[in-house]
Amino acid sequence: MMRANFLVAGVGGQGTLLAADLIALAGVAAGLDVKKSEVHGMAQRGGSVISQVRWAEEVFSPLIPQGEVDYLLAFERLEALRYTHWLRPGGVALINDYRIPPLVVSAGLMPYPGEEVQAAAFASANRVLVPAMALAQQAGSARVNNVVLIGALARFLPIGATVWEEVIRRRVPERTTAMNLEAFHQGWAYIDERGLGWNGA
C-alpha cells in the first residue's frame, strides 16, 4: 500500500490550492485514504502559502510532521527554500524555475537568495528545477504553470497518467481542459525526457 506526503508551496494567487486538489483527488482515485490541508483568508493576499496532502492506508493528522515530506512542489524558488527542512532525506523537490521578489527584495532591503544558497539547501534531496512558466506558455498560458508541475510530479508516482487526466477533467473549468491537459503532459515529458521519475521498481 502506497503512502506519500506532499507539500505544495507558493505565493498567494499562484494556484497552489488547485494543485493540492489535484494531488488529493488522484490519491482518492487510486483508492487511498487522503487528507488535504490548506490556508484561506489573509495569508492568501500575496503572502507565502502552503497546502499539504497526505496519502496512506489510513491518515490521522492532516498536517505532515516536519521532516516527513516526500515531495515538495514549489511554485517559486524562494518559497522552495522556506520548506527545505520539511523534506525527508532523499525526498524530491520539484521547483518552478521562477522568481517573485517579495517586497523587502524589490525595495532593495534584502537580496534574493543566490543559486549557491539554493543548491546547498537541497544537498540531501533530489532537486529538479522545472521551467514551468515556459512550458505552460507552450500549453497556452503561463497561468497553467501549476498543472505543469503536477505533470512533473505525476511522473514520480506509480499512478498512471490516465488517472491524473481524469482528475484534471473533473476539476478544472471545461473551457480550460485542453490547455490544462497539455500543461500536464509538458510537465510529465520534461521529467521523462531526463530519465527521472518512477522507473517501475
Binding site: A43, R45, S61, P62, L78, H85, P101, A142
Partner: protein
C-alpha cells in the same frame, strides 16, 4: 461513494441532510465556506446577515417558528452574537438550533485565538467538536437532535484545521425536497419566550437543570469513545488534537471526547482508573483539563503542551518527549534556512486601498483602522494603520482619540462590509455627540478578505437574488453627517484635495473611497499593465514606496546617479496607474496593446 470534503463543506452537507431550513451568518475565516456550500442546496433559505448578532437572532427566530436553523460564524463573531446566545440558552426553542463556530488557533486570519468552548460553558449550552470531515457531517445532525431533545441551542465548534482540511466523507441520502416546507402556527408561550425578569427567573433553573441532564447523557454518547490500548498512557483529546494524538502515540489508550461540554464524568473516571498516566491533549485553553480536575481527577495537560497557538504533530511529539511520554528521537530535525527574505501578505497590485494609504501617510495623520484586507496598510512601506481591534472599532476609537485630544489629526478607516457590520452606530455616535472625526469608508463593493462575499451594499444576496443596494452617501447623511463625498481612489489629486478639506472643517465628515476590489472578475485584468521607460526613470524609489508587488528595482542602473531603475512585472500589474501619477519623471505609462494577454 466517498467524497473529499473540507470540514466546512461536510458540516454544510450534514446540516442539509438533517433538514436545516434557515441558515444565517457573516463571512469570517475559517467559517466562510459553510454557508457558501449550503446556500445552493435545495430547500434551504441561507443569508449573509450584516453581522453575527443579527445572524443568530435570525436563526433563533426560525427555530422559534419550529424550523431547524443554524447560525454560522468565526470565533470573534460569537463575541458579537454573544447577547443572542445567552437569551436563546434561556428560552430554548421549538426546533433545533445549531451554532457553528470556527475557532482560529494560530491566528491564521484573526486578531485573537479565544477558545469558544468557554462560551458554551458560560451559556450552559452543549459543545460538539468533530475530528475530521466525516464527523463534522455527523455531528451537526447529532447537534440538531440534542437541541430538540434537551430544548437548548447546541454549539458545533470547528477549528481552522478542521474547517480547511479535507478528508473522505460518506454522504447520507439526499433529503426529500418537501422537508420543512410547511409553515406551522407560531406557538405562543410568553413565560418561555419573553425574558422579562419574572419569567427569566423561572427559566434560569431550567437551564441549570438541563446541563446536569446533558452531562449524564454525555456518558452514553457514541461520539465520546474509549479506545483501550497500552494502559501506561491514557490520552484525553478532542478535535484535530485527537488526530495528532493518534499519529504521535500509536498504541496508547484514548478517550476521544466528541462532546467537550458538558464532559461525561463516569467515562472520564473509568478511563482515569484504567490508565497509569492521564494526559489531556487539547489546543488553546486547558478547558477539558479544568473540567476533569473539577471532577477531582488529577491529570496533566498544559504543563506539557502549549496553551497558545496551533498544534503541529512534531510539536506534540517534542513536548511528549520532553515530558518523558515518548523516547527521545536519536536525530534532531533539520533546521529551517535562516534569514530568508520574508513574504508576508500584502495589498494586491491595483488594490484601491493603496492610494488612500499613501495619501494618509503624506498628510501624517493618525489612522484608527479596522478589520479587512485594508488592515494590511499597517505594514511597511505604507505603515499607515495605527490601531486595529475588532469589527467596527475604528470609528468609536477614532472618536475617543479625538475627544481625548492629541497633537496630530486622526481619521477612522473602515471597509464597506465592516461599516455595515458594526460601523453605523459608531458613526451615529460621532454625529450625535458633536464629534469632528473624518471617517473614510473604503468601499470596494465586496467583502474582500474572506473571498468576495456579497453584503447589503452589493446588490445581491448570498443565494444570488437581486437586492436593493444600500446607498452609503444617503445612509451617512441620514445619521446626521453633512459633509459626505464619494471619490475614486485611483484619482490621487481629488482624493488628497478632498481629504485635506475635510480635515480642516469643524464638523464630522465622511469620505467614501469607492472603487471595486482589483480581484473582482468584472475588473480583473481589464486595464493595460504599466511599464517603466528605463531611460526616463530617475531611480528615486518613490514608486517603490507604494509597496506594490508588481514594482521592483531592476538590474539596470540610472546613467547619471547609478541608482537602480524601477521595473514593473506585467504579469502582476493591474494597471491602476497610481505609480504613473506618482512618478516625478513621467517614466511610467501603459503598455500598448497588452490588454488581452491574460
Amino acid at each position: 461513494m466517498k467524497q473529499l470534503l473540507s470540514g466546512n463543506q461536510a458540516l454544510a452537507r450534514g446540516a442539509w441532510e438533517a433538514g436545516v431550513a434557515v441558515a444565517a451568518g457573516y463571512p469570517g475565516t475559517p467559517s466562510t465556506e459553510i454557508l457558501e456550500t449550503l446556500a445552493p442546496m435545495p430547500g434551504v433559505y441561507a443569508e449573509w446577515s450584516p453581522n453575527e448578532k443579527v445572524a443568530l437572532d435570525v436563526a433563533i427566530g426560525a427555530a422559534y417558528a419550529g424550523q431547524r436553523a443554524m447560525a454560522v460564524m468565526k470565533h470573534v463573531g460569537l463575541n458579537v452574537a454573544a447577547d443572542a446566545l445567552f437569551y436563546a440558552a434561556m428560552t430554548g426553542l421549538e426546533a433545533g438550533l445549531v451554532i457553528a463556530v470556527a475557532d482560529d488557533p494560530g491566528m491564521h486570519s484573526s486578531q485573537g485565538e479565544q477558545d469558544s468552548r468557554r462560551y458554551a460553558k458560560f451559556a450552559r449550552v452543549p459543545c460538539l467538536e468533530p475530528s475530521d470531515s466525516q464527523e463534522a457531517k455527523k455531528m451537526v445532525g447529532l447537534a440538531f437532535a440534542l437541541s430538540e431533545a434537551f430544548d437548548t441551542p447546541v454549539m458545533v465548534r470547528l477549528t481552522t484545521r478542521i474547517s480547511h482540511s479535507s478528508s473522505l466523507v460518506t454522504l447520507g441520502p439526499d433529503r426529500p425536497l418537501e422537508a420543512n416546507s410547511t409553515p406551522r402556527p407560531y406557538r405562543i408561550d410568553a413565560p418561555k419566550y419573553v425574558m422579562v425578569p419574572a419569567y427569566a427567573r423561572q427559566r434560569h433553573p431550567v437551564m441549570e437543570e438541563r446541563i446536569v441532564r446533558l452531562a449524564e447523557y454525555a456518558n452514553t454518547l457514541e461520539v465520546n469513545r474509549l479506545e483501550w490500548g497500552d494502559r501506561r498512557l491514557g490520552i484525553v483529546s478532542c478535535g484535530v488534537a485527537y488526530q495528532y494524538a493518534r499519529e504521535v502515540f500509536p498504541g496508547a489508550s484514548f478517550l476521544r471526547l466528541g462532546m467537550t461540554y458538558p464532559i461525561p464524568a463516569r467515562l472520564v473516571a473509568e478511563f482515569a482508573q484504567g490508565v497509569e498516566r492521564l494526559i489531556v491533549l487539547e489546543e488553546l485553553d486547558p478547558f477539558l483539563e479544568e473540567e476533569i480536575r473539577l471532577l477531582g481527577i488529577p491529570c496533566e495537560g498544559k504543563s506539557i503542551f502549549p496553551a497558545v497557538g496551533e498544534f503541529t504533530p512534531e510539536q506534540v511529539r517534542d513536548c511528549a518527549q520532553r515530558a518523558g511520554l515518548l523516547p527521545v528521537s536519536p536525530e534532531p530535525r533539520a533546521a529551517p534556512i535562516a534569514n530568508l527574505p520574508p513574504r508576508p501578505p500584502v495589498l494586491c497590485p491595483g488594490c484601491p486601498h493603496r492610494p488612500v494609504y499613501i495619501t494618509l501617510r503624506k498628510l501624517k495623520v493618525v489612522v484608527n483602522g479596522d478589520i479587512g484586507c485594508y488592515t494590511l496598510g499597517f505594514a511597511p512601506p505604507l505603515s499607515a494603520v495605527h490601531s486595529t481591534g475588532c469589527m467596527g472599532a475604528s470609528i468609536g476609537v477614532a472618536h475617543g482619540v479625538a475627544k481625548a485630544g492629541i497633537t496630530q489629526k486622526n481619521v477612522a478607516v473602515i471597509g464597506d462590509s465592516t461599516f455595515l457590520h458594526a460601523g453605523i452606530p459608531a458613526l451615529l455616535n460621532i454625529a450625535y455627540n458633536g464629534g469632528k472625526t473624518v471617517t473614510i469608508i473604503l468601499d470596494n463593493r465586496t467583502t474582500a478578505m474572506t473571498g468576495h462575499q456579497d453584503h447589503p451594499g452589493t446588490g445581491h444576496t448570498l443565494q444570488g437574488q437581486p437586492a436593493p443596494p444600500v446607498h452609503l452617501e444617503t445612509l451617512v447623511r441620514a445619521l446626521g453627517i453633512r459633509y459626505v463625498a464619494t471619490v475614486d481612489p485611483y484619482d490621487l489629486e481629488t482624493l488628497e484635495r478632498t481629504l485635506r478639506a475635510y480635515l480642516e472643517i469643524d464638523e464630522p465628515a465622511v469620505l467614501i473611497a469607492s472603487r471595486p476590489c482589483a480581484l473582482l472578475p468584472e475588473v480583473r485584468f481589464k486595464r493595460a499593465p504599466m511599464a517603466v521607460r528605463a531611460e526616463a526613470c530617475l531611480g528615486c524609489g518613490l514608486c517603490l514606496s507604494l509597496g506594490c508587488p508588481a514594482l521592483s528595482q531592476s538590474a539596470t542602473h540610472q546613467a547619471q546617479n547609478g541608482r537602480p531603475v524601477a521595473e514593473i512585472d506585467p504579469l502582476l500589474c493591474a494597471g491602476c496607474g497610481i505609480c504613473q501619477q506618482l512618478c516625478p519623471a513621467q517614466a511610467v505609462s501603459p503598455q500598448e496593446g497588452e490588454e488581452v494577454r491574460r
